[in-house]
Symmetry: C2
Subunit: 302 residues, 2 copies
């Protein structure tokens, strides 16, 4: 798993946090490891970079989660920082500041023992860095990628290029519309699949759930109905990390049923991220809490 | 069924129609009768008013559909007119002009033989007129109501009053947020249920499907994935009309399973309305077309 490791400052109607541990690889990694435990996944490794200001307790926490940090580089300079806020229905973050810091010069190196993972997940990151990772490693079962609107705006060609080299893409509804330049989500999705030639396209729609195109089939699921929306940061990353873990626990061709089950678990996982600031919703999650909400959510679906 | 009978002029990226037969009672009535045929519903009657300019071929068409028009009044003046357009993702209509015309002085009279229908459906209309109908008639199984943002803006107290006298409310997501003054849809829905005391609240979310609160349970369904969006006018009305017909075909307490089946059929029905201008999608609908899409949609859900 490659992605950002960040200190986030976030304001929402529920309050404010400053310099909270975040980043796509952190959320995806913790979510992945949560599921990896009961799915008996041996190793989940993070590739990324932090600055010299990175707190030792954050390293300790990631290690205590069971994540392999041999691909984590500590570089001269400061850790990546993001500052944003949420308003209204809290569907989209308003970015106030992004400081790439150590990611500006980052040259990712996948540890030699990790170049053939079962699942390679490029969490949201500069597309060129995702490309560099994909040149060194490929998932033996699947390579997958997440992204965000910023890269469509400032690095669209790089993003389309890296999209062409993965099997599964996770992206949100507004981003598909931007990429395909079509307001109709279904048409835009089919157009994007044609352009990049992926097998699976998963479109996150926030409070409106998820729609996935897998081969010639469609899966469409609602979100878990959350009253207590505190901080949407990392929801998409924990969603994607859950899918990565679930797909790493099986073999062969990915069936519609398997992907649907992964999406259901991803939806439930993201609902816990949403209910607290930062990673605390994920860190406090127990198997009992997860399973009980999973049963509740399946009740809503049927 | 009471509601508007209108001549609509609509522009969408797919083209333009002028003075097409429309209105909430027309869409709901035609959809209702489509389902009423295979559900063996004896009688579906419309209560409404048209002006002297109403075309005789439109009367003939409604009769040929099998709708009972004994509650249809022809008044001096012009038929209700609406002019609007759709843009972007076509989720919300932009209203250019609304002429109440004969609806301005309308005093609805429910035919004496129709004051105890199994289902009474007040389709979108001036809330005060919905109230007048509810004073004359009540559904023996259920009374239901649909509305729109315009009445929240100009007649909110009337709307809340009439909402308190029905069992089931159909409304869209933006309208629930407006009524409850809360951006979180789940919280807003629960607040509205408390305010009006209805048993069932169905929230239409356009391309994002539907969420329903029924007693203490939630049902959440995606929309049918439509690439060919031509004209969303009447989608909500055909959706609601389908539910009215389906609920009229059963007895006793409404179960979650029954409501879910009604919502699925309503979603599929609305998808046909969406694909053509005006009522033509509904008028050309056959049982074979409906059943084949129903099976396709159930495949997406499971």
């Amino acid at each position: 798993m490659v992605g950002s490791i960040a200190y986030d400052s976030v304001t929402s109607p529920a309050g404010t946090v400053e310099n909270a541990l975040g980043g796509s690889a952190v959320y995806a990694g913790i979510a992945s490891r949560f599921h990896g435990n009961y799915l008996d996944l041996e190793k989940i490794g993070l590739v990324g970079v932090v600055g010299q200001d990175f707190r030792s307790e954050d390293i300790a926490m990631l290690e205590s989660q069971g994540l392999d940090l041999s691909g984590l580089e500590v570089a001269e300079g400061k850790t990546f920082r993001w500052e944003g806020s949420y308003h209204g229905d809290m569907g989209v973050a308003k970015t106030h500041d992004t400081q790439l810091n150590v990611f500006g010069d980052f040259d990712p190196k996948v540890p030699s023992e990790s170049t053939t993972p079962k699942v390679l997940f490029c969490a949201n990151l500069v597309p060129m860095l995702q490309s560099k990772v994909l040149q060194q490693a490929k998932g033996t079962r699947i390579s997958m990628l997440d992204s965000m609107n910023l890269w469509i705006e400032i690095a669209k060609d790089d993003l389309l290029a890296v999209m062409k080299s993965v099997d599964l893409i996770i992206i949100n509804d507004g981003e598909v519309r931007m990429l395909a330049q079509d307001d109709n989500l279904i048409r835009a999705s089919r157009a994007l699949i044609k352009i990049v030639g992926c097998q699976t396209l998963i479109i996150k729609k926030g409070e409106n759930g998820v729609v996935a195109f897998h081969d010639d089939e469609i899966i469409s699921l609602p979100a878990y109905p959350t009253e207590n929306v505190v901080d949407p940061t990392g929801c998409g990353d924990s969603f994607a990390g859950t899918i990565a873990a679930f797909l790493a626990s099986n073999e062969g061709i990915i069936s519609r049923e398997e992907l649907r089950e992964a999406l259901i678990r991803a939806t439930v996982t993201a609902s816990f991220t949403l209910e607290s600031f930062g990673t605390s919703g994920l860190l406090n999650l127990t198997n009992d809490m997860f399973n009980s909400r999973l049963i509740e959510f399946e009740g809503i679906l049927n």
